[in-house]
């Protein structure tokens, strides 16, 4: 079994090796620049606080992200698809702490604050159980608000923006409303036609990361229990990574984190190399003491 520092080095090497010459990161070696991959790699490499060796990739990544920011502050998957603006929250996290990118960060924050998903007052006979009138954030323009983009926006605004803004409070209200009665979160539907849907560990970990400090523990106790049970068996990077970060945020980082991340890394032998966002998430889960927020303090 690899020890923690070997795993951390392995993730860092993998990420550094993918840094593009002109700045930024692709999803996989040999591919083109991607803003989501870049933001995650920047956050993960910055989390090592190693200074010198990673600083170049971090700074050039931040600048590449700045280059792909659109006029109104959004960062989308590609410049030609401005409606897919969900990477904006990730860019805010990547620019956090960088004086050089304070203006870009500010524009991105303003974009988030004036952007929301589609909302409506539910009719009495609606098959949906959740409160469709609560405003959160969507993945793409002109669609409903969902758990993951809302969680990411809350994280970005609480870490790097006006954390007490009414939009953050409304986002928190949305996440509370979308928590499954039996515990945990999925993409964002709770019950449809009276049937409770299944929780997913990655969504649960992300929502718990966003809610720490905003709601009392008693309100998420069932979700913590559900996630603690799920992470004992999942070994895929997205679910395991967010599972560890979500539990860590609430002071329950699993004692077996290193072993589980090691097992997860080993599974690249069967799944192929993980993409940049997944390697970044594993590095963050190894480095995090008490959840993802601790990197930005």
């Amino acid at each position: 079994m690899m020890d923690r520092s070997t795993l951390v080095s392995s993730c860092r090497e993998a990420l550094r090796g993918r840094a593009l010459e002109g700045g930024g990161f692709p999803m996989f070696p040999g591919e083109a620049y991607r803003p989501d991959a870049t933001a995650w790699a920047v956050v993960a490499l910055a989390s090592t606080k190693s200074g010198g060796r990673d600083r170049g990739a971090v700074e050039s990544g931040r600048s590449r992200l700045a280059g792909s920011q659109l006029e109104d502050g959004r960062v989308s998957v590609t410049p030609s698809t401005p409606e897919s603006y969900w990477p904006t929250s990730l860019a805010i996290l990547a620019w956090h702490g960088s004086e050089k990118h304070a203006e870009q960060r500010s524009r991105a924050i303003n974009f988030l604050l004036r952007t929301w998903g589609k909302h409506w007052v539910k009719t009495e006979n609606s098959p949906l159980a959740h409160d469709t009138s609560i405003q959160g954030w969507s993945w793409t323009q002109d669609t409903h608000s969902w758990v993951e983009p809302t969680s990411l926006a809350i994280l970005a605004l609480r870490i790097s923006g006006p954390g007490d803004h009414v939009r953050v409070r409304e986002g928190v209200r949305l996440l509370r409303d979308r928590q499954l009665p039996a515990g945990g979160w999925n993409y964002g539907n709770t019950l449809v036609y009276g049937k409770e849907l299944y929780p997913q560990p990655d969504c649960t970990g992300l929502a718990l990361s966003a809610l720490v400090g905003c709601v009392p523990r008693s309100e998420v106790e069932k979700s913590l229990k559900c996630l603690a049970s799920q992470v004992t068996r999942v070994r895929t990077p997205l679910s395991l990574g967010w599972g560890i970060l979500g539990l860590g945020a609430w002071g329950q980082k699993p004692g077996q984190t290193t072993a589980w991340v090691g097992e997860c890394m080993d599974r690249q032998a069967k799944h192929g190399a993980y993409d940049t966002t997944l390697v970044s998430l594993l590095l963050l889960s190894l480095n995090a003491g008490v959840g993802i927020g601790s990197f930005f303090e």
Binding site: F28, E31, A32, T236
Partner: protein, 338 residues
């Protein structure tokens, strides 16, 4: 599961075939557009029904025999690169009736390779989960693909290219398709036979939602919900122009599908070149009138036949395999489907 894998049967693999993983970028571009291979709407179509009691059967031979019955010549498949699009929605251990069974994927892959395909890959962009690797692990598909050395591409994260919306039933002027499609010759929808609480039924046509990348359309692919699920099914089909459909009805799902329903043994594999005709046949097997499924009724106008006299039924007759899937009265999309 059968122990002997495709790799063993073929007696070896090339370097490229050994590669496994989210390999959005590894396929070399040939310049061939699969869109060129589309066919015009036909007034009649052939659909093949095979009885299959369990997944332990020789599914590859069933599919291969279906090719012959349907007039799919080996010359059409020889040297072609085939993309199999399964239906993987959510990862849940022990809920196999949600997703296309891994052994149906294995059987389909083997049948295409036996017919001379140069390459088979499996590609999917799950609608409710960003963790496609978890989907592969919990559904059992990951192990099957690894044993058979078949590549998997996570279509949710693949870069896209924009094409005009050929259907124009939604307001969308263009659709963004994953670049993976540029590197294949045939797109095969390998769907699950299920009821669906928004669309009535989900079969080979609805399954194509999963081709559309999540990075552009979200999780769920909510853009299409707002544009209208029925209209979006038609637009995606008309733009993609898939080449073949195989529907896993060995064990399907009835009741509150596509996730929360219950397993329903129909004991069939249904296949054909024309997706509306295949889906209309599946609906009849499920005891559902395809004319009452909105998107199938609309598809019959220009995408393919759904009227019984216009579908040449091969293999088993519908009457010998019909088993009514239970519907839920309070679900709007289920009312009046019989």
């Amino acid at each position: 599961m059968r122990v002997r894998t495709i790799a063993e049967k073929r007696g070896g693999w090339t370097r490229r075939e050994v590669l496994f993983g989210p390999l959005g970028g590894f396929l070399a571009s040939s310049g061939f557009s699969f869109l060129e291979g589309c066919t015009k709407p036909k007034e009649s179509a052939d659909v093949h029904i095979s009885k299959l009691a369990t997944y332990e059967s020789d599914i590859a031979s069933v599919v291969f025999a279906g090719f012959k019955e349907l007039g799919v010549n080996e010359s059409e498949i020889r040297g072609k690169r085939i993309l199999l699009k399964p239906n993987l929605v959510e990862p849940h251990l022990g809920a196999g009736h949600i997703n296309t069974h891994p052994l149906v994927i294995r059987g389909a892959a083997e049948a295409f390779l036996r017919a001379g395909a140069s390459k088979v890959l499996v590609a999917e962009g799950p609608g409710h989960s960003r963790d496609s690797l978890l989907m592969l692990e919990e559904s059992g598909l990951g192990d099957v693909l690894r044993e058979d050395r078949i590549s998997f591409v996570d279509l949710n994260y693949v870069a896209g290219y924009t094409v005009g919306n050929a259907g124009r039933r939604t307001r969308l002027r263009a659709l963004i398709l994953p670049v993976t499609l540029r590197d294949v010759d045939w797109v095969v929808s390998v769907a699950k036979m299920k009821t669906h609480h928004w669309a009535g039924v989900t079969l080979s046509m609805k399954n194509l939602f999963g081709v559309m990348p999540g990075i552009y359309y979200g999780w769920p692919k909510n853009v299409f919900h707002w544009e209208g699920i029925d209209k979006s099914i038609l637009d995606i089909h008309e733009t993609l122009k898939p080449h073949f459909a195989i529907v896993d009805g060995v064990v399907g799902m009835e009741g509150d599908g596509p996730i929360m329903g219950t397993p329903k043994q129909a004991g069939v594999i249904v296949m054909g070149r024309n997706l509306p005709a295949v889906d209309a046949t599946c609906a009849r097997i499920m005891g559902i009138d395809p004319h009452k499924v909105s998107y199938l009724a609309a598809a019959s106008e220009r995408l393919g036949p759904i009227r019984e006299p216009h579908i040449r039924q091969r293999g088993e007759p519908i009457v010998s395999v019909r088993t009514d899937f239970s519907l839920v009265e309070k679900i709007d999309a289920h009312r009046g489907l019989r």
